[in-house]
Subunit: 218 residues, 2 copies
DNA sequence: TCAATATCGATAAGTTATTATCGAATCCTT
DNA sequence: AAGGATTCGATAATAACTTATCGATATTGA
């Protein structure tokens, strides 16, 4: 409805956008032209009114009795997410999690590309994995500036996460995706997103026990 | 305040509990006896009133001018989360992500223990990783029953995630931690928690762009 | 002993997000 | 061509969560 991202998009909406996008892309590949919020909602398990409200933030207008035009919706969702131009990213910490992230092909769909990896272990550095070279961590600052990279992924043990964050910030990184379960202390103009598995597991454990209790109320 | 988990705990509170728990355990190991919500809030970056409200759901009472007794708080948080008795879990899919999860030591703190892994790839099955044996997926049903396992972790490619979910459900699994980016269709008495990296990356991308735009409003 | 202070716990206010409802627009069927 | 059906988009109502405020309480230190 509005021309561009004038009003801020609620974060719950932003979180749902990737799900819409995935479904929309599937439909587009299947050759469909229109999609309705009813159908999207059914596919991803949400009420259509939620989807409709969310999509209104994307800026595309729907069509009564038809729904939304896929050709329009997919790019609009990408644009809203900032995924229209793939963002280059550095990965720090090529351990078991780092290797999984490096090898993960899904990030291409998420507007991100890991262009280099860094580690402090000499046995790993120098080689490459999944088309990414692995550099010693000391090389990070100069490469960040040369390649103009603004996004960093932290996959190092938690006790060194803060020091890695400091290196990233000093190197001009503006956004950090942190997989270590610690609160990072960074300047206010740097965005940090912590990916903490314990959050999800907490909800699951709680619901699991709640479910069992309601089944057997004692 | 109330005796036990009579009232449901809000999910945002549940998500914050692991952070409190981590900090509380650190303090306890450091030999402290009391902790205040002021201090917890400062450590994990939240207002003390949030912490105070959250902790009220744990059932422990604080002490004016002192705070909460660590010996009481830590077990109460675990109990609220359902982490007081470690839950046995099966992992399905020993690929790059599955291996990272298998090797991750942190789950011990999260009330979970991966007791066996499963894969369909004969090159992997038969061996073991990080103290967990890897079985062919066909063995899952009988082992689930014999070991009375109720929690399953899905780390297989997305196109087979639903079929794996079906196997888990048929084997009596009551909770599924799903790392594949697909909506699983399961009976209503089975709890599914989807761990979708795209959600976090979406928020990060959005905030990163927003931040850059506010810096340069043109 | 008594005042100052830090904290809890409760209540209230404010904000945000979800859900419900309904008219208008369009397409499809007959 | 007309009526029925489906969907959008807006508004309103509800619910959930966060934040502010304040009295009560216990401790500390004068
Ligand atoms: N493995 C998992 O499934 C998992 C799950 C959730 C969170 N995490 C978190 O992710 C982080 C990494 O976990 P992991 O299992 O991959 O650990 P890991 O020990 O396998 O890998 C850590 C890597 O970081 C490197 N490293 C250490 N210090 C460094 C430094 N100062 N600079 C650069 N590189 C450095 C090490 O050489 C190693 O390669 C941890 O904080 C962990 O808590 C892991
Ligand atoms: N690697 C990552 O960093 C990452 C990040 C986010 C999400 N994911 C998701 O996690 C899942 C696994 O990712 P991955 O990178 O580990 O993939 P992978 O290909 O490395 O591993 C998949 C494993 O599943 C096994 N498998 C396949 N079909 C099976 C079946 N029917 N029964 C049992 N096992 C089966 C394969 O043999 C393989 O070992 C995917 O859905 C992916 O989208 C991965």
């Amino acid at each position: 409805m509005n021309n561009d991202a004038m009003q801020p998009i609620p974060l719950p909406t932003i979180r749902r956008f990737p799900e819409y996008l995935r479904f929309v892309e599937d439909k587009r590949l299947a050759g469909e032209e229109w999609i309705s919020t009813t159908e999207i909602g059914a596919a991803i398990g949400r009420k259509s009114v939620v989807v409709r409200k969310d999509l209104s933030y994307s800026g595309v207008a729907g069509h009564p009795r038809r729904g939304f035009r896929l050709e329009e919706l997919a790019p609009a969702l990408r644009r809203s997410l900032g995924w229209d131009n793939a963002t280059d990213a550095f990965l720090v910490g090529v351990g078991s999690l780092g290797q999984a992230l490096l090898g993960y092909g899904g990030f291409a769909n998420y507007g991100m590309r890991i262009v280099a990896a860094f580690d402090c272990n000499d046995d790993i550095t120098g080689g490459s994995m999944a088309q990414s070279q692995i550099f010693p961590i000391q090389k990070l600052p100069q490469l960040a500036k040369r390649m103009n990279v603004k996004l960093g992924i932290i996959a190092v043990p938690q006790d060194v996460a803060q020091s890695v964050a400091n290196i990233l910030v000093d190197a001009g990184i503006r956004g950090i995706w942190n997989f270590a379960p610690v609160q990072l202390d960074v300047p206010s103009n740097v965005v940090v997103r912590r990916e903490d598995l314990s959050h999800g597991l907490a909800v699951l454990s709680y619901q699991l026990r709640e479910e069992c209790e309601t089944i057997r109320p004692e």
